[in-house]
Amino acid sequence: MTAQSKTGQPTTRRLMTGNAAAAWGARLADIDYIPAFPITPQTEIIEALSRWVGEGALDARMTMMESEHSMITAAGAAAATGVRVFTATSSQGLLYGMEMLYTVAGWRAPFVLVNVSRGLAAPITLEPDHNDIMAARDSGFLQIHCATAQEVLDQMLIAYRLGEDARVRLPVIVNLDGFYLSFTREPVDLPEKQAVDAFLPPFDPGPTRFRAGKPVSQAVAVLGGAPYSYFRYEVELAARAALPVYDEAAGDFADRFGRRHDAVEAYRSEDAEVVFVMIGSFATKAKEAVDRLRDAGTAAGLVRPVLLRPFPEAKLRAALIGKKAVVVIDQNLSIGKGGVLHGEIASALYGHTGAPGALLSFIGGLGGRDIGADEFFEMARLAAEAAESGEIPPPRLLYTGNELREMRKLQAIAHVEHAEAGEAS
């Protein structure tokens, strides 16, 4: 089906999964090279790309690597040689490649890596949460967190433009949640190739590339803290520079394609008293809850950081200052501390005039666990209560009585099986 977008650009609307949207984003970005390694729930992406390369629809080279550690090394090395690179992983794979995430970010070799978020072992699971992507938080990769399949496709294009910008030159992770987004079909507007080409010019590696007769040394060792700090600070400054570059790219994207992707999404939060803060596709559950809470008379809203690195601190502060209560729902768990996002939001607000009196922390959605509407209502109630009393409850791990009862049943079965096995031997 062909339609006209708001800006008059012809587009094609198709039903596709989040994974397919990621693959389409890579295809439209004219990638040159795909070092790949399979892992659920990401594999569909590299299979789609492989099919297109085979059919000749995508002029790229795909190389199957033997691990994610090697995959990220090859991705960085190819980007450092001057081609546009795409790769994708998930969960255990992202952690297996963790050494190289830090390393290639330091090379200032821009490319895009899609991470399809999935909980980490142990216990081993396939379903989503954000502990994998949070582990990459400090690596030097920029991070964009998507909530819909359309965002995945659009953010792929913005990510290349952002990472390759001469003021930035850093690799970018585009994150989407496994299953809920990776395997869910949604209508997606596919932009025209010519329009994408106008938005995203070919990768210009500048002088940092390997060619005969033009020797360069990349990623050399340093001796001492001063040169080390210099290069690390340069990465930090580049990441900070990415904040306005992102706004610029997202603004241009909106002008060309009619879809805005602000660094921080604010949903009905302007006049809200209680605001939820969440990232990723589970934030769509919060949107639904916000609507229901408003129907029930509570002025609720949602603030969703789309860009997590660089951290859009000023935008978050602007969105949250003056609210009575803020509820941060972390789909991750920093063991022994609690939610990672909660601490980040606190650091953005602390000491600022008008900072919300109540900042509450909840952990939910681990390993794909649902967050129910009743839980959003309960969190909003506790937040309003805390704002009123000034007493902030300790971080809470969301779990219902029913879930605990079901867990007890599983344990009872395990005990019976164990006992029977013992009798048999």
């Binding site: 190289m100 390997f210 001796l223």
Partner: protein, 306 residues
């Protein structure tokens, strides 16, 4: 006979590698890299794994006239894959000329090559990567003070094994691991035999595909001897038969030097502090005989094939 390197005077007289690196005096690895580089030429990109040679390029200096990319300890062959693939893509898409192309060379120590880097190396061989894999083998984690690696020989003392017996295991046969998977080329070399080395590098240069060169790298600090003895020890490694010089090509292994008669291994062992416990306070005849037996058994298989 290699037409380029028939006699010592055929060896390159201009040297490409700059001086003044942070490497130790008498480093057998540096000697091998210098000789290899002279034959390969400056149109190379060295993709380095963590090890002694990582300290060759320290900001803002490099001794290389060509290019350099430091990766990590485990994944230099994957870095080579990324560079090679990118160069091929650029050529195929007309964004780079054939003249701008580079020889991609992994530069690794034995610590990575015999251990942590094996997975990435194996992957590169599976994929038929067009690269040269150059291992300077100083038989231990040299850069960190000579701890035991997969390349450490039997009975040696290392910084992590000071027992009377020394290291119990036997040096892993990396050459056999490679050749079992039919690479385009594989060879053992040593800096102390520069003509043999130059011929092999010259041959490797003319072939496409995965090519492996292991250079035994006598190491004064790690092996416990004075730097001036590096060449003597290298020559003894060959004469005793401890380090067989050989090459693999078209499915066949050929020995390029067959020492006759072989010097007893103790002549090699006794010069090195790492084997001193086999001689002092009293000779460990059994251990020396065991090592000699291993070497003899190897050469018996060579003679049988020969």
């Amino acid at each position: 006979m290699n037409e380029h390197f028939e006699r010592m005077k055929d060896l390159p007289s201009t040297h490409l590698l700059g001086a003044g690196t942070a490497l130790c005096a008498g480093c057998g690895g540096l000697e091998a890299v210098k000789e290899v580089y002279d034959v390969l030429g400056a149109n190379t990109v060295f993709v380095n794994a963590a090890g002694c040679m990582t300290l060759m390029s320290v900001y803002p200096f490099t001794p290389f006239r060509g290019s350099w990319l430091y990766t990590a300890m485990a994944s230099a062959p994957a870095g080579a894959q990324g560079v090679r693939d990118a160069l091929d893509v650029l050529k195929a898409k007309g964004r780079m000329t054939e003249e701008e192309d580079l020889e991609v060379v992994v530069l690794t120590g034995d610590g990575s090559a015999y251990g942590m880097g094996l997975s990435a190396t194996s992957g590169a061989i599976d994929r038929g990567l067009d690269f040269i894999y150059l291992c300077y083998d100083n038989e231990g984690y040299g850069n960190t003070g000579q701890q035991t690696s997969g390349g450490t020989p039997h009975a040696a003392h290392t910084a992590t094994n000071q027992t009377q017996a020394g290291v119990l295991g036997w040096k892993k046969d990396l050459f056999a691991i490679w050749t079992a998977n039919k690479p385009a080329y594989a060879a053992t070399v040593i800096g102390g035999e520069p003509l043999d080395l130059a011929r092999k590098i010259d041959k490797a240069k003319s072939i496409e595909g995965p090519r492996m060169i292991i250079a035994l790298a006598p190491c004064p600090t790690g092996w416990g001897y004075e730097p001036q003895h590096s060449v003597e020890i290298a020559k003894l490694a060959v004469k005793t038969g401890i380090w067989p010089l050989k090459e693999y090509e078209n499915g066949k292994v050929t020995h390029t030097r067959v020492p006759h008669p072989r010097t007893p291994v103790e002549e090699y062992l006794k010069l090195q502090g790492r084997f001193a416990h086999l001689f002092e306070p009293e000779r460990n005849e059994a251990a020396i005989a065991e090592i000699q037996g291993h070497v003899d058994a190897y050469w018996e298989t060579v003679d049988a094939e020969g």
